[in-house]
């Protein structure tokens, strides 16, 4: 929990007490495979105890997506579920925002950037609010 008082929506989203939120990867010291979420053994090469953490990039490109029109009860639709390859390693899934949820508007390979924001107002059973991450189209300007 950082200054905002928001909790992290998922374990690999880190909220430092001072500084900006970021996504944390675990990198194998032997084969350099990148994982989301903590682990001690590499599932690519089997090496134990050589994992180190890495701050994942806030930019990447769109690899695949779906526009979701029907979901579980209580989940607002439509939304774009996006698979993004982050620059420098790591693949993350998240909502793509700032684009009309129409397949015509979404291009493979389009540059996107990570933004951190309130988790759509969702609260846990104790009324706590959360911080989540989203992707939005990235323009250099």
């Amino acid at each position: 929990m950082g200054e905002s008082g928001l909790r992290s929506a998922i374990d690999y989203l880190k909220i430092p007490d001072d500084g900006s939120p970021y996504l944390e990867g675990y990198v194998c010291g032997n084969c350099e495979a990148v994982f989301l979420g903590k682990r001690t053994t590499c599932s690519r090469c089997g090496t134990r105890d050589s994992m180190h953490t890495k701050v994942l990039a806030n930019t990447g490109t769109l690899y695949a997506f779906s526009v979701v029109y029907r979901s579980y009860p209580g989940i607002e639709v439509p939304y774009i579920s996006a698979i993004v390859d982050l620059d420098g390693g790591g693949t993350v899934k998240g909502n793509l925002i700032g684009v009309e949820p129409d397949p015509q508007n979404i291009k493979f390979g389009m540059p996107v950037q990570l933004v951190f924001a309130d988790a759509l107002g969702r609260k846990d059973q104790n009324g706590n609010l959360y911080l989540a991450y989203f992707f939005q189209p990235h323009t250099d300007s």
Binding site: A9, V67, Y72, P103, A119
Partner: protein
Amino acid sequence: MNNVYVAGVDMIKFGRFPNRSVPDLGADAVHGALDDCGLNIKDMQAMYCGNLMQANAMIGQRILQQVGQTGIPVVNCANACATGATAFREAWIAIKAGLYDIVLAVGVEQMGKGLLGGAQAQQGIPREGLLGSSTMPAVFAEAGMEHSNLYGTTFEQFARVSVKNHHHSTMNPKAMYQVETPLETVMNAEMISYPNTKLMCSVNVDGAAAAVLMSECKAKELELIARSVKIRASVLTSDPWQERDLVMPDVNSCTQKAATEAYEMAGLGPEDIDLIELHDCFATAEILHYGNLGLCKPEDAGKLIDEGHTSLGGRIPVNVSGGLLSKGHPLGATGIANIYEITTQLRGEAGTRQVEDARLGMTHVIGLGSACAIHILEKSA
């Protein structure tokens, strides 16, 4: 090593049977498979039972309580949508190992309607629709869109899979549906998760299927060999590490690995196979597996469906039963229902949907998470 055969097999007509129990449905399939080869429950030396949703409920034993409690060993197994195929393969292994001559494999499932799973969070907040989607239609939509990204596959090509499989099921009285769905109907159906419309999602149904597996010696001794179908290959894989598999459950590499191993075990290649029942849980998935199973290069998968090569009468008919899209997908039963279809075809007993001169057939299932099972079956010489 002793060859293993499918001597008897059956499936119930898939549908919705809310007033019947899982053991009830399984018992019907067992009776069908026993009758198919003229044997008695007392002839069975072991039983492998696949059921997913009630994996802790001793379904195999409860089926025996309905058809005959002979005291044989029963193993209940769960392996996502590969559950039935896994039970079948365990039965094959038991005979291969020389422990038994006659083994029963059963798969059975009762399903609710609608999307599998739910959004409730054990702790924290629900992540569905917040950090992308984890619904099955979305996961397989994304897998299809990866294919679109790499090879340019189109929504229309994915939709054609559904047109084909629904057409095939009009010739299968045991399928859930016997309804034609023209391309416009498929493409204009409710969009669930682009590019999968409602008609491009498999049907949640109740179902059961069972098979009697037998050693070659026993099949000859009982004079059942003529109608029996030889198991030329049985392979099970899990998903090898892939760089995106934490966010994109991988159904490709486990299928490619299983296919390679199955062809090697059978001493065959994809060009030798006459028909395939593959895991079309969503229309997008079938397109991926054309390449994964070596039917064509991955980039030609869209063309394969466009040119009709995988339709009944085509070069390599796929899912002539109607597939999971129209026959239905009772998770634990699906793997053995595929064995029923291929066996029926190889026996030349498939009626109007018969693939001409079918001699070799393949079954393929994927359990997300992931497990892939492939079997290659051959008509008796």
